[in-house]
Amino acid sequence: MGEIKVDVKGQTCPVPLVECRKALRKAAIGDIVEIEGTHPASKKEIPMAVNALGYKIISIEEEGNTWKIRICKQ
């Protein structure tokens, strides 16, 4: 199982969502995608997209302005 890290800190709509989708497309089944960003709306919209795609949110962390979302492509 691999892990893909995506850094979208400082990026705004729609880049975090798009980069998340690009990483999930490249990931193999069972891989983890970890995306780190600062765009506030994306923190709740990435989980919406992950649900719509049928993948699994492992964790959502926030420290200061930065959030980190871990997703499993199942």
Binding site: Q11, T12, C13, L17, V18, R21, A49
Partner: protein, 151 residues
């Protein structure tokens, strides 16, 4: 009485967005590509139909050449907005259209507009265009789409 000619065809709706890009204004091209990319990111299929002034933006080197739809002020307004967009780190239209294609989005060019406006296929960025078509293709796709927009 039932009019058999007007019976709705029971087309099943797919998780699909079909968007007409009629305007060539810079801000509206942004809207079309942001919505298109958002829909692709959330797992929808997306088709963008470029027609009339929208189609002009598919000409080589013309993607970001449209004016602002409001307060363009001979390009001054556009310059100000572009400055603010750079400051906010908004992605370029070029990145957005590249991402759109990478995520599997379809771009269709209206062949009637090409004829009316004298646009030849070689004037357009053919690498981006999936197909050349007219209204029938749009209606067929729109019938099976759960979201359709006209921009």
């Amino acid at each position: 009485m039932e009019n058999k000619d007007m019976q709705a065809v029971n087309t099943p709706k797919l998780n699909k967005a079909t968007i007409i890009v009629h305007s060539g204004d810079m801000d509206k091209i942004y809207s079309a590509l942001i919505i298109g990319n958002g829909a692709l990111s959330m797992g929808m299929e997306v088709s963008l139909y470029f027609t009339f002034f929208g189609l002009q933006r598919l000409k080589k080197g013309e993607l970001d050449k449209g004016p602002l739809s409001k307060m363009n002020m001979l390009g001054l307004g556009k310059m100000m907005i572009k400055k603010r967009m750079d400051k906010a780190n908004v992605a370029s239209l070029e990145k957005m259209i590249t991402d759109f294609k990478e995520l599997g989005g379809k771009i269709l060019a209206c062949d009637m507009t090409m004829e009316v406006m004298g646009v030849k296929p070689e004037d357009l960025r053919q690498d981006l265009i999936s197909d050349y078509c007219s209204v029938g293709t749009y209606i067929k796709e729109a019938m099976e789409s759960s979201m359709t927009l006209f921009i």
